[in-house]
């Protein structure tokens, strides 16, 4: 059986970076081949070469045994190679159907569009995905998870023989992931070869047939997924052993309450939410996408208004109506979308860190003190272990984990006592994840109160001292970590108000 795709001795250089060094990769029909490696290992670069977005500097690529060099996305599509990008690449102002079939709209004569055919064709694809969505739905009104599903539908609409999935589950909840895996199984049975990139180790065991590992742009090994323990894969990825066991939880039950919310409500998104966090405690906030976790965080941070309820900091009621007031009250919020809301990625590490509190570095005449900014930046680079050549490196050139540390440095500079982390390890690789975990634990040990919002249950169970679970805007329960299980959390996360009514309906 010939390989669908075979890549040999692939080389790629970017200015100042040797991104791929003599890398090999092959894909057979009907298999899921996982491509593993830390951020910056070269996975996405390799896949961009395969899908025609980058040109390779050296090496050979064969499709169906014939030499191939796709010079653009369209050329790759013609070879049957489709890709689902890690960053959502949808047009928000168009409908789902218009997005799915962009570039291949059913046409009538004179360039006129056949909108009914467009919608019908998309509806067909949605049905095969078990996706309940009107093709005429505007993309901008959909949650990130559902946008991800539109993206997947778009890739499938090309009927690819090779499908590259770059972090397809990053925004999906468990039910949606199960649905995606069902689709993957179906594609496999049709002989489609799938390249699967993910940072969620448990998924590799569930669906991958083979695993290829890259490290620092170099090929390390290709292994059978079934008989390779995860620890071995992780070890090959990072080049050292990584411990994933949770440390003991310090007893914080006697500490003062740092933040308390009582009866917080806003429309249907947040309904009567009450909880507290003590100093030195890490509170996990779990739930499915759209459960209202981010909404709660944004209200506490003053980014959104609330209808009723109160917020108390150190026992004192505070009236927070803007992020500025939240910062003054000592509350920091690290958004899930670092690039959008947390960082000026084209500016240097130093500038980004100092931006948190420029007054601190401004002389009486209004001139910025670069030397003081450098001292502070260097101090945080050391303290947080930010891997960067210097404090004048542009942030966009850092890996995801190091970018996250720069965001953390900004908030530490502002001296916040309460820090809310929204998906702190999203898009961050295994090695950097445990560093971020250690950092969060250290921040808590210093007496800060930490709230972590995460969709990954192992992460919540690993980090949290207590776990608050939300469903449809309500807080459905708070669990202590001892004895908490993924099943228990999922039960609370799906405990809808009208669950009882619904089961009645379906049985009738």
């Amino acid at each position: 059986m010939t390989n669908l795709v075979e890549m040999r001795g692939i080389e790629k250089r970017f200015p100042g970076v040797h991104a791929l060094k003599n890398v090999q990769f092959d894909l057979r029909p009907g298999e899921v081949h996982a491509l593993m490696g830390e951020n910056g290992a070269g996975k996405s670069t390799l896949m961009k070469i395969m899908s025609g977005i980058y040109a390779r500097d050296g090496g050979d690529m064969f499709v169906d045994g014939k030499p191939a060099a796709p010079d653009g996305p369209r050329a790759a599509q013609n070879l049957g190679i489709g890709i689902i990008h890690q960053e959502l690449s949808l047009m928000n102002d168009l409908t789902a159907a218009q997005n799915v079939l962009i570039g291949r709209e059913p046409r009538r004569r004179f360039g006129r569009l056949d909108e009914p055919a467009l919608n019908a064709k998309t509806a067909e694809i949605f049905t095969s995905l078990n996706l309940a969505m009107d093709p005429r739905t505007m993309v901008s009104t959909q949650t990130i998870a559902r946008q991800q599903l539109i993206e997947i539908a778009k890739a499938l609409s090309y009927e690819p023989r090779v499908l590259i999935m770059d972090e397809p589950t990053a925004a999906l909840n468990d039910a949606e992931i199960r649905e995606l895996f069902r689709v993957i199984e179906k594609l496999k049975s049709e002989g489609v070869g799938i390249v699967y990139i993910s940072h969620r180790m448990d998924e590799i065991k569930r669906i991958a047939d083979r695993v290829t590992i890259l490290r620092d742009g170099a090929y390390i090994d290709t292994l059978q997924a079934a008989d390779t323990p995860l620890s071995k894969i992780i070890q090959l990825m990072v080049g050292r052993e990584v411990t994933q066991t949770a440390p003991d939880i310090p007893d914080t039950s006697d500490n003062a309450v740092a933040l308390e919310v009582r009866g917080l409500s806003r429309g249907k998104d947040v309904r009567d939410v009450s909880f507290n966090v003590r100093k030195g405690e890490i509170l996990g906030l779990s739930g499915l996408m759209g459960a209202g976790r981010t909404e709660v965080a944004r209200i506490i941070f003053g980014a959104d208004p609330h209808d009723t309820g109160e917020i108390l900091v150190s026992g004192q009621p505070v009236d927070i109506r803007s992020p500025q007031m939240a910062v003054q009250a000592g509350i920091g919020y690290l958004s899930e979308d670092r690039k959008h809301f947390g960082l000026a990625v084209d500016m240097t590490v130093r500038a980004n860190i100092a931006m948190a509190d420029l007054t601190q570095f401004t002389s009486r005449t209004g001139v910025l003190d670069e030397a003081a900014m450098k001292r502070t930046a260097d101090q945080y680079i050391n303290q947080l272990g930010i891997r960067t050549p210097s404090d004048t490196q542009e942030v966009r050139l850092l890996s995801g984990g190091n970018q996250q540390k720069v965001v953390i440095a900004k908030w530490l500079l502002r001296d916040c006592d309460v820090l809310i982390f929204d998906e702190p390890t999203r898009g961050i690789d295994v090695g950097a994840k445990s560093e971020i975990y250690a950092l969060l634990e250290e921040l808590a040990a210093q007496g800060r109160a930490i709230i972590v919002i995460s969709s990954e249950l192992p992460e919540i169970l690993r980090l949290s001292h207590r776990i608050a679970v939300m469903c449809e805007g309500r807080l459905t329960g708070i669990l202590p970590r001892e004895g908490a299980t993924q099943e228990e959390i999922m039960k609370l996360a799906t405990q809808t108000e009208n669950l009882a009514d619904k089961t009645k309906e379906t049985t009738q």
Partner: protein, 335 residues
């Protein structure tokens, strides 16, 4: 499973907002309020002759604004529509008056000149990657200069071409319905608007207009030749500007080479008042038409109320700011 009913509710609500219905209603309501306000203030306002004068005044700016709308929806901007309009009028004058060609060739020349210049602007933006603001600023000055050079800085009159003035001033509608002598210039505006609206909502070109303004990189990665489509949109916009050139030349029965500068800003103002987003991806021709009408009604009404012209300009500026602010407030509430 349980999240599905919730999401459906969201999407129904989303459809309402995404349709841009509020945007149009807001602009339309302002137009009605203006009409009622001026009628109450002056009995001369609601006369048929005055209404036709308003429409007549809208025709040139309206057509230019439609051209600008296409480019703005792609996320670009076209500062050259004013001087391009003059340039197409001058070229028509050269062909008809200086060369003595027949009328249809003059009409084709005007539109073709517009399309050609639009093609150049589009190429500068798409292929040479010059930001639209700069590319069309350059084109604006080049075309202004060329108009003066070609015409020898003197107006070109169309006295030798019988029927040229009818393009704008005649009234086909008036011949059929004598009670409503709507001039041809206005008829052309509505025809252009209908055509542009159809292109935007029903054709591939229109679809890529919105797609480019929404997320150009995503369109490119979908295997679409974004450069060529962008050039096509600028070319179409240029051709529409050529139509505006014919209307104004016909109305003045001459090509005035010094005219043109400033029209682009009025056109962009109409687009913005009509609710088209300057960041691209959203906009409607109907909104632009209403925007152009609002500006014409305002100027006409203020003139009837004998407000000094200086103040009319001040009010126009304030209206633009107000329109965008109102749209922002609406959007914030929507979210």
């Amino acid at each position: 499973m349980t999240a599905i009913p919730n999401v459906n509710k969201q999407s129904a609500l989303g459809k309402l907002f995404a349709g841009g219905a509020f945007q149009k209603i807001l602009a339309f309501a302002s137009l009605i309020i203006l009409l009622i306000g001026f009628s109450l203030a002056s009995p001369n306002f609601m006369q048929t002759s005055n209404m036709i004068a308003i429409l007549q005044a809208t025709s040139v700016n309206g057509v230019l604004a439609i051209a600008a709308t296409l480019v703005i929806i792609t996320g670009g901007i076209d500062l050259s529509v004013g001087t391009l309009m003059t340039f197409t009028a001058v070229m028509t004058g050269v062909v008809l008056t200086n060369l003595g060609m027949p009328l249809p060739i003059g009409v084709v020349t005007g539109i073709a000149t517009g399309a050609f210049c639009g093609f150049i602007s589009g190429t500068l933006v798409a292929k040479m990657k010059i930001p639209p603001f700069i590319a069309t600023l350059g084109m604006m000055l080049i075309l202004k200069g060329l108009s003066l050079v070609i015409s020898g800085t003197r107006p070109i009159y169309f006295n030798d071409t019988p029927g040229f003035d009818l393009i704008s001033r005649g009234s086909l509608i008036g011949e059929v319905f004598p009670a409503v002598p709507i001039p041809n210039g206005v008829l052309i505006l509505f025809l252009v608007a209908a055509a542009a609206s159809y292109i935007l909502s029903r054709t591939v070109l229109g679809r890529y207009c919105f797609a480019l303004g929404s997320n150009e990189e995503a369109v490119r990665l979908s295997g679409v030749n974004t450069d060529n489509w962008k050039i096509a949109i600028y070319t179409l916009a240029g051709a529409i500007v050529g139509v505006a050139g014919l209307i104004i030349a016909s109305r003045l029965n001459s090509a005035q080479p010094a005219l043109g500068l400033g029209y682009e800003l009025e056109a962009i103002a109409a687009v913005v008042i009509g609710g088209t987003s300057l960041s691209g991806g959203r906009g409607t021709i109907l909104g632009t038409l209403i925007g152009a009408l609002i500006m014409a009604v305002l100027l006409n009404g203020l003139r009837i109320l004998s407000v000094a012209q200086e103040w009319q300009t001040v009010v126009t500026g304030a209206i633009i700011i107000l329109a965008v602010y109102a749209d922002n407030v609406r959007r914030r509430k929507g979210n």
